[in-house]
């Protein structure tokens, strides 16, 4: 038996590993084996037209990821052994990573499920392999985030039952409904939503603030996780762009379908990122940049270049991107106000910004902050100092689509709440914006099923009608996980550590 010692190059090896693995089925028609990849109306004439953005084979993938994971776990171990949590700038920072764990980690897991599903249901082998690899990435990200953040759970509150909270807590219905919406769509809409609109167009706005925020604030464990995930994210972004180009090149009739998805998922993603806006401007003791600056850099500049490039396929920039740009000087203040109003029902703390923080906000938002927002923070702070910390005693009206409390204002009048409404089958629905209304109007049959936390409480589906009953149903420890940071167990513990440290230094 003669052996062929010739070594294949990467491209040949990749072709052998990803092409010709499939076959035309004969016992069952292909359309029955792949029942989901035609109903959305996307026409694919040649699945081999798929250009693999990364020629990564499975064996290389395992080797590479195992190496990264070894390094990550070494850092996490040393972070734990050296009491790394003591090195953060201030315990208020920890509230940002409570949002990361309860909101984002669950999305990583949801993404794993979504890409596994799509990786089964596209009949072309190239995109199927790419989706399956991404499914594994997402599962790894969920696991490594859980392991990284479990260290904080030993000392700080609100980390203990994130999985349970994801399915129940009012503000976590925002990320949950975002992903459930994507996962219940067809496979092409799912990849457009997650891979392109979120991972390609908007991901830097999620990733950079959390990771730079972690670096600026001494959270080396989260930074290491971020570095470990970064090369995967680069791959996901490329997949996002490739899938769009693939659909657009296959058939002209695909263009309007893809455009509508981009419009929808840009807006849904942008609304989801309003949580990040709040985190950047209010929750990082040491600021990285303002939300408005991040929006300018990562969307207005980078996004404009991207959509210029896509123009030749007949695509235009997402509808309502101009509204998002109009909102950049108010978004974080409106969202922080929502959470300040309802901190008694949240699994993290909010607080009154300190003087230097208010000054920073005045400087970053010279046209809006002093005039519109600073007076409310000053008033709230006075009230809190007088033992009268303000909590909103009624539940908020929610947007039917994004499920965020209706705290956003008219694009051309930041002093008026923006109300939009649709009637479908004699039933009224309310929205925070034209973007959210358009999404509903296109597929009202889907959103009439929205599980809106406030309405569910009214129906008695959330453990009772009293706030205390609802918090119990959320698995939220009342008086510990929620309420103002000032006077919280987190704050007391941090103050004690800091006092001990200065004593030891004397």
């Amino acid at each position: 038996m003669s052996e062929n010692p010739k070594k294949l190059n990467l491209k040949q090896r990749y072709k052998l590993l990803t092409r010709g693995l499939d076959w035309e089925t004969t016992y069952q028609p292909m359309d029955k084996v792949f029942p989901f990849d035609t109903f959305e109306g996307i026409k694919i004439h040649d699945w081999d037209g798929w250009e693999d953005p990364f020629r990564l084979t499975m064996d290389a993938y395992w080797k590479y990821q195992a190496e990264k994971e070894r390094k990550l776990y070494a850092v996490i171990d040393s972070f734990a052994q050296n009491n790394g949590h003591m090195g953060i700038t201030d315990a208020r920072y920890v509230n940002a990573i409570k949002i990361l764990l309860t909101g984002v980690t669950s999305l990583e897991y949801a993404a794993h499920r979504g890409f596994s599903h799509v990786g089964r249901h596209l009949r072309g082998v190239g995109p199927r392999v790419a989706c399956q690899m991404q499914a594994i990435d997402e599962l790894r990200h969920a696991q490594t985030q859980i392991h990284t953040l479990s260290h904080y759970n030993r000392y700080f509150d609100g980390f203990h039952d994130w999985r349970h909270m994801y399915d129940r807590v009012w503000y976590l219905s925002v990320p949950k409904s975002f992903f459930d919406d994507a996962m219940t769509a067809g496979p092409f809409e799912f990849v457009t939503a997650i891979s392109f609109s979120f991972e390609y167009v908007l991901t830097n706005l999620l990733f950079v603030p959390f990771m730079s925020g972690a670096a600026y604030n001494g959270d080396m464990a989260t930074v290491t996780f971020g570095f470990s995930a970064q090369s995967d994210e680069a791959r996901h972004m490329t997949l996002g762009l490739e899938v769009i180009k693939f659909m657009l090149e296959q058939d002209e009739a695909n263009v309007p379908i893809v455009q509508r998805w981009i419009d929808k998922w840009f807006w849904r993603g942008y609304r989801l990122l309003s949580l990040v806006a709040m985190m950047m401007d209010y929750m990082l003791p040491k600021r990285v940049m303002s939300w408005a600056e991040a929006w300018e850099m990562y969307y207005e500049d980078a996004g404009a270049a991207l959509f210029e490039d896509l123009e030749r396929y007949g695509l235009r920039p997402p509808k309502y991107a101009d509204i998002a740009t109009k909102e950049k000087n108010r978004l974080s203040h409106e969202v922080w106000s929502i959470f300040y109003n309802y901190t008694h029902a949240a699994a993290f703390h909010t607080w009154s910004p300190e003087d230097n923080e208010l000054d920073w906000l005045s400087e970053k938002y010279p046209d809006t902050f002093d005039k519109m927002y600073r007076p409310r923070f000053d008033y709230w702070r006075e009230q809190a100092a007088a033992g009268n910390r303000f909590y909103n005693q009624a539940l908020p009206q929610l947007c039917t689509t994004c499920q965020i409390p209706m705290g956003f204002t008219e694009p051309d009048d930041p002093t008026k709440i923006c109300f939009r409404e649709s009637v479908f089958k004699h039933e009224r629905y309310h929205f925070c914006s034209d973007g959210c209304k358009d999404i509903f109007d296109w597929e009202p049959e889907k959103y009439v099923q929205s599980w809106l936390p406030v309405h569910e409480i009214f129906k008695g589906n959330c453990g009772g009608t009293d706030l205390k009953d609802v918090l119990k149903w959320y698995h939220l420890n009342d008086g510990v996980d929620n309420m103002d940071y000032e006077g919280s167990p987190d704050q007391r513990l941090w103050a004690e550590w800091t006092a001990n440290r200065s004593k030891a230094a004397e």
Binding site: N392, Q397, E421, H430, H455
Partner: protein
């Protein structure tokens, strides 16, 4: 535009009135007072007196605002689902025309929030 789906796709509205055990879900927005970050939602019986909302419910919610005690209710301007209207405080919510998921907005002239910030 009808939804694209793999089969029949017709589900009941989750928030239809019959799912709320006899109450109307109503939304209230005090204009120019954005310290209350969003309109508030209440499940009210349709035969509740409109005036009871002002007298029994509002103080526990809007009372946290320094403008609240200065409100001259006789001068307040109201809209119901986008139309101006004058509520009859002694009649019920239903008699005043409120339905399921109605939006009531009110403006209190002369009161423009903390330091005039519409907050």
């Amino acid at each position: 535009m009808a939804i694209q789906s793999i089969g029949d796709y017709d589900f009941p509205a989750r928030d239809a009135i019959e799912n709320f055990g006899g109450v109307l879900v109503t939304y209230w927005n005090w204009l120019d007072h954005l310290m209350f970050c969003a309109p508030v939602a209440f499940p009210f019986p349709p035969d509740m007196r409109f005036g009871d909302v002002l007298e029994q419910v509002f103080p526990g919610v809007y009372g946290a605002h320094p403008d609240f005690n200065k409100i001259d209710w006789a001068a307040a301007r109201w809209t119901l689902d986008g139309q101006t209207f004058t509520p009859d405080l002694d009649r019920s919510l239903a008699e005043n025309g409120l339905g399921h998921k109605s939006v009531v907005k009110f403006e209190t002239p002369g009161l423009d929030g903390i330091k005039g910030s519409r907050t």
